[in-house]
Each structure stands twice: as structure tokens, then as C-alpha cells.
Amino acid sequence: MSIKLLGEAFDPWRELQRHQAGNPQLAGKYGATSVFVGTMRDFNDGADVERMVLEHYPAMTQKHLQAIATEARSRWEILDTLIIHRFGEIHPNDAIVLLAVWSAHRRASFPACRYLIEELKSRAPFWKQEISGEDARWVTHNTPG
């Protein structure tokens, strides 16, 4: 179970490879890996968005991501989870979040991965501010995915 909060851009696919390589005990045990990557678009409500600043409440973020991952492990038979979330300045096409779940079967990995993103979006204390030119506006809520 690994949780990372990153202030710099990251490559989600490289992070997945690195996590698997660093956890050789998983090899041969997992038959399913479900992955969700959330990426920044360059538009919203028909307007261009140049960049975004993601603020968070570090100690609380860490605590709640840990709790969400622990809950997923108690609900489904999963072998491992990886959560990576950006903060700071984010540009279009940057990954915002990576969630991965390893399990023996897909019946555990799919719902567990879905659980991680939905709970993260409703509970983890992150706030997005979109910036276009001189205009900065706070995103007031996420809508159901």
C-alpha cells in the first residue's frame, strides 16, 4: 500500500512499472491490475484553461488517503494499492491522479479501484483553481463521473 503526494509532474505508467518492480512479492500472485489515471484537460465549460493550481491540506490528505486505501482492502480481496496525487501547478495533459489496485481476480480490482477514486473525490481535501490569462477561478464542486 503506497501513497505519494507529488509537487512535480509525473509519468503514471512509469510509476506503475516502478511500483511493480519494487514489490517483487506481488509477482505471480496477481491476475488483475485495475488502473485509473485522471488527466488535466485544456478546456472547461467551453473556456480554455491554461493551467491549474491544486491546493491541499497535507496532513489531512495523507490521513484520509490512507483510510480510503485501508477501507478498500477490508472490502475486497486485494493484494496492493498505489495512490499518487499531484498538488501545485498543473498543466493540460499532466496526470493529476493515479490509482492502481492489484488482486487475484478482476471482481475485486475493478470495484476497489472505483471505490478509491470516488472516495478520494468526495473526502480528500484538495481544491482546484483554474487559471486562464489573468482570470483565476476556484472549481466549486466535482460532478459525478
Binding site: 485522471g38 488527466t39 491540506y57 496526470a95 493529476i96 478520494l120 473525490k121 482546484k128 472549481v139 460532478t143
Partner: protein
Amino acid sequence: MSITVKFFASLRETVGKDEAILDPARAQTAQQAWEAATDGREMPANTLIAVNMEYAGADAAVTDGDEVAFFPPVTGGGGDVLR
């Protein structure tokens, strides 16, 4: 001997500060901590509250050494339509 009050995101801008340190005698609840830290400003209806990093209601008890945070609805993650 103090209660730490934190404000985040749009609420930080509304209140005009990111943190306030209170004498614990000034607040027994999160609501009172808000009032003491904001000079009696009305709390916006959609404000979320956390006491020591756990979500709590406005009537949650606060005591010396606690950290009370006020912030707007959270908007982390990705992959959906915003706003």
C-alpha cells in the same frame, strides 16, 4: 496553550488569512473557533469543518492543542466534468 485554526482555498481568500492561533478559552466548539478567528463573520453554508484532520460538525468540541480547519467542498481527483 492554543487552538490552531486553518483556512483553505476560496475560504482562505474570503477570510483573508490562512491561519489563526486562539486562546482555548475563546472557543469550546468549532463554530466558536470560526467566530473568534474571523471576528464574527458568518460561516458560508457549504463550509466543511475538520477537527484534528477528521470531518466534524459546527458543534464539535474543540480544546487546547486542537487543530480546526475550515474549507469549501473538495475538488480533487480527475476524469469528470468540473463545476
